[in-house]
């Protein structure tokens, strides 16, 4: 019985929950708690799928018809092995690719850009600001962004990028890229990666607000949003309007974070509790 519950839970956490969670846009106001919830649901989904196999073992041990029970145990073990294999493969694949792209880009930036104390400056009129995460991280600004923003707003932009680097937001994005890639195409739910992408931006915006105030942060967002062509090909909305709206709405009710954290705790521990029950 419990193995089926675990399999059902895996489906629930991997395919049903992401869609529902992406629709609860209010949680974006509590970005840190929301990120924890997204991670808990992903980890919980994986744990539930993997726990289904060991949960079948007790059936084999005290069953009257061990051979008949094998029909249940073997497919469960195979499914677990496939899931582990896909995750490891995707992890290796995504990790290598990202590290290579970042290293190549960092080397290029180090050669062409002007070196300043905290940042690298690309001598180019198009305003842009980004960071290259990793062990040798860089914050990169273009001359265009230096020309477009007064100092206070520039500080907000740098604080935003620093927050990405300090908080290792790249690891979060990498984790969700791996999970997304590990799931076969038709079963994939792209909501998680998209929402996590937005949430780390909101989190970094909060850091910028703490550093430079909300007015400077909001103005920097507006100036840069107006100076760049949107990525029309993506077919999804850009993050700027959502982020500005969240800045305007201010901090959430504390209960919202509490709710997200409780949900996260439940999603991550339920598979383990079920597994323990199967063996009890």
């Amino acid at each position: 019985m419990i193995p089926f519950v675990l399999a059902g839970l895996a489906v629930l956490l991997a395919w049903v929950a992401p869609g529902l969670m992406a629709r609860r846009k209010g949680f974006r106001r509590a970005p840190r708690a929301a990120l924890v919830a997204w991670q808990a649901v992903s980890v919980g989904g994986i744990l539930a799928a993997l726990a289904a196999a060991p949960a079948t073992i007790p059936l084999l041990l005290d069953g009257e018809d061990p051979l008949g029970r094998l029909q249940l145990v073997v497919p469960a073990l195979v499914a677990s092995a496939v899931i582990v294999g896909r995750l490891l493969y995707a992890g290796h694949h995504v990790g290598t690719r990202l590290r290579r792209v970042r290293a190549d880009h960092r080397q290029l930036v180090d050669i062409v850009a002007r070196h300043e104390e905290r940042v690298r400056i690309l001598q180019h009129p198009t305003p842009t600001a980004y960071c290259i995460p990793g062990r040798q991280s860089r914050v990169v600004l273009s001359q265009g962004v230096l020309d477009a923003l007064p100092e206070e707003q520039l500080e907000a932009v740098i604080a935003h990028e620093d927050a990405h680097l300090r908080g290792r937001h790249d690891l979060l994005l990498e984790f969700f890229s791996v999970v997304t890639e590990a799931v076969p195409g038709p079963l994939r739910s792209p909501e998680a990666l998209g929402e996590v992408r937005l949430l780390v931006e909101v989190l970094a915006d909060r850091a910028a607000v703490r550093h430079s105030g909300e007015v400077a942060t909001a103005r920097a967002l507006l100036t840069l949003a107006g100076s760049r062509e949107p990525e029309a090909a993506l077919g999804v909305g850009t993050t700027a309007p959502v982020r500005l709206r969240l800045l305007a709405d201010g901090p959430p009710h504390p209960a919202l974070s509490l709710l997200a954290y409780s949900y996260a705790a439940l999603a991550a521990t339920l598979p383990l509790v079920l597994l323990a029950m199967a063996w009890a």
Partner: protein, 151 residues
């Protein structure tokens, strides 16, 4: 430039060597036909102590990365920048925007902003107006509090 006794990092040297080559190309103009390892090495004189073989290694690495091109000149190679610094900068900028596959790029580099459409700009401006109004309101309140306290 502070003198360092430890071996300087190769990445740092790559930049300095590229700068030397760009400068030489600028000075030489259309007549510039590349610099040999020896010529690049000479440019370091008085600036910092670098072994000849190190310069050779760095130029070799740069050639492998297609940042410099080289031509045989007798027994030596003559190295030239593959592109001007401006062109390479433009290329770097472009790479952050459309070179990679879209999902990968957005995970590899974290941009401050992904741009906005004209419709979205209107929403953004409305939200900014709210934030500014609130900030002014807060300022006014705290100013009033200060006046009250002073009395």
């Amino acid at each position: 430039m502070p003198h360092s006794t430890s071996a300087p990092r190769l990445g740092d040297l790559e930049r300095v060597v590229m700068e030397h080559l760009w400068e030489a190309a600028n000075v030489g103009g259309p007549l510039f036909d590349g610099a040999t390892v020896r010529e690049v090495h000479l440019r370091f004189e008085g600036e910092r102590e670098i072994a000849y073989t190190t310069v050779m290694t760095v130029l070799d690495r740069l050639a492998k990365k297609d940042l410099v091109t080289r031509e045989r000149d007798g027994r030596a190679w003559r190295y030239s920048p593959a592109d001007t610094r401006e062109a390479l900068t433009a290329q770097t900028m472009l790479r952050t925007l459309d070179d990679m596959e879209v999902t990968d790029r957005r995970t590899a580099l974290l941009h401050f902003l992904d741009g906005a459409t004209t419709d979205e700009l209107a929403d953004i401006k409305a939200a900014l107006a709210e934030i500014e109004a609130r900030a002014e309101g807060e300022q006014a309140t705290s100013a009033r509090r200060r006046t009250i306290r002073r009395r």
